[in-house]
């Protein structure tokens, strides 16, 4: 059984479209190099794993699980991340584009500013590489902020609405060790239209970009 291979989804905007929040150089390296490397290594691990399984070598298939989880997570996270951003000049980056979601955010945290503060604190509290996500919980439908280490992905039940990459490669060339400024500026380029659609839609819909790029 041959494994399906994944490919790099094109960015829905130009590399410099998120300036000045995120520089063109960062976006270009992040997309063409970092994201591509996760995909390359994911495809490799899936192939080795499929071959091992077809030969009945469970031990060799199991040895690939860590690489599949890490690189697969990297591919999922970055794919969702790109779609979750929009140029600050676009109406999609305005809170008005997410009436239902912002209403739920206010119901949950009391005010949008309070949510921003709690989310920002969670992002800055990550020890090492990782991501912060706003998710819709599977059973309750409630909103929750989660942080995940390295390339762990929101894949068990919950629906990811938008995520912020806190790996140093996501901001270092522009913000150096000043990651608080990166967190402050990323709010200007969140794609609220995408977040609203993910909030209203099914869990599978949130991940459709992955299927579209195989």
């Amino acid at each position: 059984m041959a494994a399906k291979t994944y490919s790099l989804p094109p960015l829905p905007y130009a590399y410099d479209a998120l300036e000045p929040s995120i520089s063109k150089q960062i976006m270009e390296l992040h997309h063409t190099k970092h994201h591509q490397t996760y995909i390359t290594n994911l495809n490799k691990a899936l192939e080795v794993s499929a071959k091992a399984q077809s030969e009945g070598k469970l031990q060799d298939a199991a040895a690939q699980l860590s690489a599949i989880r890490f690189n697969g997570g990297g591919h999922i996270n970055h794919s969702l991340f790109w779609e979750g951003l929009a140029p600050s000049s676009s109406p999609d980056s305005k809170l008005d584009a997410a009436p239902k979601l912002t209403g739920a955010i206010k119901d949950t945290w009391g005010s949008f500013d309070k949510f921003k503060e709690v989310f920002g604190t969670a992002l800055l509290g990550i020890q090492g590489s990782g991501w912060g996500w706003l998710v819709k919980e599977a059973v309750t439908g409630q909103l929750r902020i989660v942080t995940l280490a390295n390339q762990e992905a929101v894949v068990v039940g919950d629906t990811p609405l938008f995520g912020v990459d806190m790996w140093e490669h996501a901001y270092y060339l522009q913000y150096l060790n000043g990651k608080a400024a990166y967190v402050e500026n990323i709010w200007k380029v969140i794609n609220w239209k995408t977040a609203e659609a993910r909030y209203a839609g099914s869990r599978d819909d949130a991940f459709k970009v992955l299927k579209a790029n195989m």
């Binding site: 390296l29 190099k33 970092h34 490397t37 860590s66 890490f70 020890q127 090492g128 590489s129 990782g130 280490a149 390295n150 390339q151 790996w167 140093e168 490669h169 270092y172 060339l173 150096l176 060790n177």
Partner: protein, 233 residues
């Protein structure tokens, strides 16, 4: 007096500021501790001294920015724990443990890292000698094998972390291990050589080409320091 103090290293200044916030504490500045507070150690070489292998800008940010943040975080975690202890609040103390591990580890790891690097004119680069060389050849076959093993370990780190050459006191052997984030080397393992694989350690110069950084850093390893650590291990 004040003028003279402010000409001292930033670390000492920060320590003085910190201690001056506590009335009655003398501004007794040593380079490593002020009344039990951790402070940023000075580098024994200039920020630009490891070029072209590690740029001066990386070294400066890494030392003055990142390492200083771990020092501050460590002092703040220790303070929180002291306060919790005074109040008998064990939960608050326990809740601070991850911060203590992260910032305490970050302070220790970077301190070891600066010391196991050196410019070429101060003992950096080359190959291990003497007892260290023999131990490496005994446990890894050759110095080249050790380099390969460390580079593979570094490349395999998923996220931020470190690779270390350690002496395992129980087994009596040298081993290559990796640690996630800022987890310190503890227990039976004595750290001999550490290489920082956090992106901030190389990104401004090497961007996503981290393998080039892992190859380049061998040119500035201070084998004299590593040999001394093995002697004491």
């Amino acid at each position: 007096m004040a003028t003279a103090l402010f000409r001292t290293a930033p670390a000492v200044r920060a320590a003085l500021r910190a201690s001056s916030m506590k009335p009655g504490v003398a501004a007794l500045a040593s380079t490593s501790f002020v009344r039990g507070k951790a402070t940023l150690p000075d580098l024994s070489y200039d920020y630009g001294a490891l070029e072209p292998y590690i740029s001066g800008k990386i070294m400066e940010l890494h030392h003055k920015g990142h390492h200083q943040t771990y020092v501050n975080g460590l002092n703040s975690a220790l303070e929180t724990i002291e306060e919790a202890k005074a109040k008998g609040d064990e939960i608050q103390a326990a809740a601070t443990a991850p911060l203590l591990n992260f910032h305490g580890g970050g302070h220790k790891n970077h301190t070891l890292f600066w010391e196991n690097l050196a410019p070429n004119n101060k003992g950096g680069g080359g190959e291990p000698e003497g007892a260290l060389k023999s131990a490496i050849e005994k446990d890894f076959g050759s110095f080249q094998n050790l380099q390969k093993q460390i580079n593979t370990a570094l490349a395999g780190i998923q996220g931020s972390g470190w690779a270390w050459l350690v002496k395992d006191k129980a087994a009596g052997t040298l081993q290559v291990i990796t640690k996630a984030n800022q987890d310190p080397v503890i227990g039976n393992q004595i750290p001999l050589l550490g290489i920082d694989a956090w992106e901030h350690a190389y990104y401004l110069q090497y961007q996503n080409r981290k393998a080039e950084y892992f190859n380049a850093i061998w040119n500035v390893i201070n084998w004299g320091t590593v040999a001394k650590r093995l002697e004491k291990a």
